[in-house]
Symmetry: C2
Subunit: 388 residues, 2 copies
């Protein structure tokens, strides 16, 4: 086991009926004015907007509003948020939405106290030296942005989807009421579930040794997703399934599965998927159901051990040699994705074979990357070919 | 799943060679003077005392010293610590030791800023409204005091072993270097391991429903202990086993396994064991290897489900009905304790049959207690009879 630091200071308030507590949490630290940040119409339909604004009003907390944050959130909206804050001083940012809204809130929070253009922070041209505090209400579980210090934003002008990471970016408080997620569409729930599985698998399949306990936590998480995704397709109002899906989402990417591994995980599949999201606006989860099996098929023969252990622990696969069990585990994983209606090939996304070189070139900007196997430009191209 | 709040702000610095970082952490918050609190001679033998004091000296941090904290720590030593602090102002407390030292540090930290006698806080006569900050170095993993907000202390004058709980009592920083635990005696390691298992089982066996994901995390933790305790008996210097044992200890009782359960766990076995520790100075782990199987045997027939699920998930027990599987799981658990040299009867502790009523009377002060089954005075007496 490698040395690590574990710190996760976010207060999570979890459960049915907890949303109005956001105002109490803000009042407790004497916040008087916030920027309310959200995405589309979902929070108006499911009543969350009313729950939040009623609670703020009751506690005499003023709020400016900024809606329209999209999935694969863009830097333009972040800049808009920063401008709003600089024009009308607020004490805190209140993202109300899913991962994209939380990610955007983090970028706005850091950008609001930085003198230059916020994209500098994504390009490493400047350090994050502070941020406005974030008190959020999560309405769609998947990315774990509600409990981590990472913000991922796209910059279409530069053809880049990249992240900021800073201890200033942990939300102070995140409220997670799983019951409001019952109105999420099936495809969004499945995509989110695949993202949660991918966050876990990026760790489980990184080849770290001497961390069986951490691996066991990851297997537990994957087993939970194999149960809850089908359960929620069957009955979106299954509260216990929804709650466990939601809490699994938070734990999959709050840093706990990285403890002792030496790296934060492999994340090749995420990086390979980011290019699809950037170029074709492919939903994040879909990019992963396509790229993760392709990546696995490309690397497992030379590195069968973590795949074989995963296959045994999660799918109960026995017999054959390590490579056989590894292959069988990848088959099972892909079969699960397909059984839940998730695409597993670029072809299904209506991406043309002729686009592959361009996609590979986009992803290769960050090459070499990967922990289990370091991927170079040629490797990346091969993986997209497998994915096709 | 029940509603919950999750918050655990302690910074954990984990791994070989991390101990000197305690001084850097103190310097980072401008601490100039600390009370160094420890137990017996172990930290002089294993070099931890020198590592800590060298680091403090190098960073110009003054330290007063108070040694002699015992297992099942006593309120007298806490009062001594408080007196020392009130006589010579210090900015922080630095426990260097195991759970008893951390628990005592918490009581001293709370007592040092309270005007009355510290025992008032244990009896609920006054609220904890602040505490000196704690920056600790853990040298024996078991109780998770390094990552929770609980302090357990005995008061022999009042025949009580009880706890304080407050968000002020989370250590700010805990350093865990598993390599220094190689010098712990086999019996202490086994006892600690049983305590870790018990912290987990108190949750797994509380009968909570709709928390399969949390249960899975608990099963993962128990499986880890079933591997690491024998591995460390075989080779106390096995760093990966020691690290996983240590991290499992922290996660078993940092609150994470209580999420969604509605209660913090059953804790009947702990309460039944506390009377043994108080009256006979029975090591905490030994009290649990004796009382947990006895408690399980008393309650499982009326509440077989959590025992059966545990038996299946951890020991792979199949066949028969739920009660059969539950019974088989309890057998396996007790057999594991015995295989590691742990006593499982009061008789082995040389406690007399004639003492049982007196022990039951001591434990009954807190009755009724228990979540899976609420235990009254008669139940408590029966369980001690089974344990005999």
């Amino acid at each position: 086991m490698k040395n690590f630091m574990w710190w996760n200071p976010t207060i999570v308030i979890f459960g049915h009926g907890t949303i109005p507590q956001i105002a109490d949490q803000l009042s407790a630290v004497k916040v008087k004015s916030v920027l309310l940040l959200y995405g589309g119409k979902a929070i108006f339909k499911n009543g969350v907007y009313t729950q939040v604004t009623d609670a703020l009003t009751k506690n005499n907390i003023a709020f400016a509003e900024l809606g329209g944050v999209k999935s694969n959130p863009r830097i333009e909206k972040v800049r808009e948020g920063i401008a709003r804050i600089k024009a009308s001083a607020v004490d805190a940012i209140v993202p109300v939405g899913g991962g994209s809204v939380f990610d955007s809130a983090k970028a706005i929070a850091a950008g609001a106290v930085y003198k230059g253009d916020v994209w500098d922070l994504f390009e490493g041209k400047a350090e994050i030296e502070g941020a406005l505090p974030i008190y959020g209400v999560l309405t769609a579980s998947a990315t774990a942005s509600e409990v981590n210090n990472i913000g991922v934003v796209s910059n279409p002008e530069k053809d880049k989807k990249t992240s900021i990471v800073s201890s200033y970016l942990f939300p102070r408080v995140s409220i997670i009421d799983p019951s409001v997620q019952a109105s999420i569409s099936e495809s969004q729930m499945v995509n989110g579930g695949i993202d949660i599985m991918a966050h876990t698998l990026e760790r489980l399949l990184d080849g770290a040794e001497g961390v069986e306990f951490i691996d066991e936590q990851g297997y537990a998480l994957i087993r939970t997703m194999l149960q809850t995704i089908p359960a929620l397709r069957e009955d979106p109002t299954d509260y216990d399934a929804r709650s466990q899906y939601a809490w699994a989402a938070s734990l999959a990417h709050n840093g706990s599965l990285s403890c002792g591994r030496g790296e934060r995980g492999d994340f090749s599949s995420h990086k390979l998927g980011h290019s699809l999201s950037l170029m074709f606006d492919t939903p994040h989860g879909v990019s992963l159901s396509v790229m993760m099996p392709a990546w696995a098929r490309y690397v497992y023969e030379d590195h069968p051990k973590p795949f074989a252990r995963f296959a045994e622990a999660v799918f109960g696969i026995e017999g054959g040699d390590e490579v056989d069990r590894a292959a069988a585990g990848i088959e099972e994983l892909e079969a699960f994705f397909r059984s839940q209606g998730a695409p597993t090939t670029l072809r299904e996304l209506e991406i043309q074979e002729s686009d592959i070189e361009r996609i590979a070139a986009n992803a290769s900007v960050f090459a070499p990357f990967g922990v289990l196997k370091s991927l170079n430009t040629e490797d990346i191209l091969e993986i997209y070919k497998i994915a096709y």
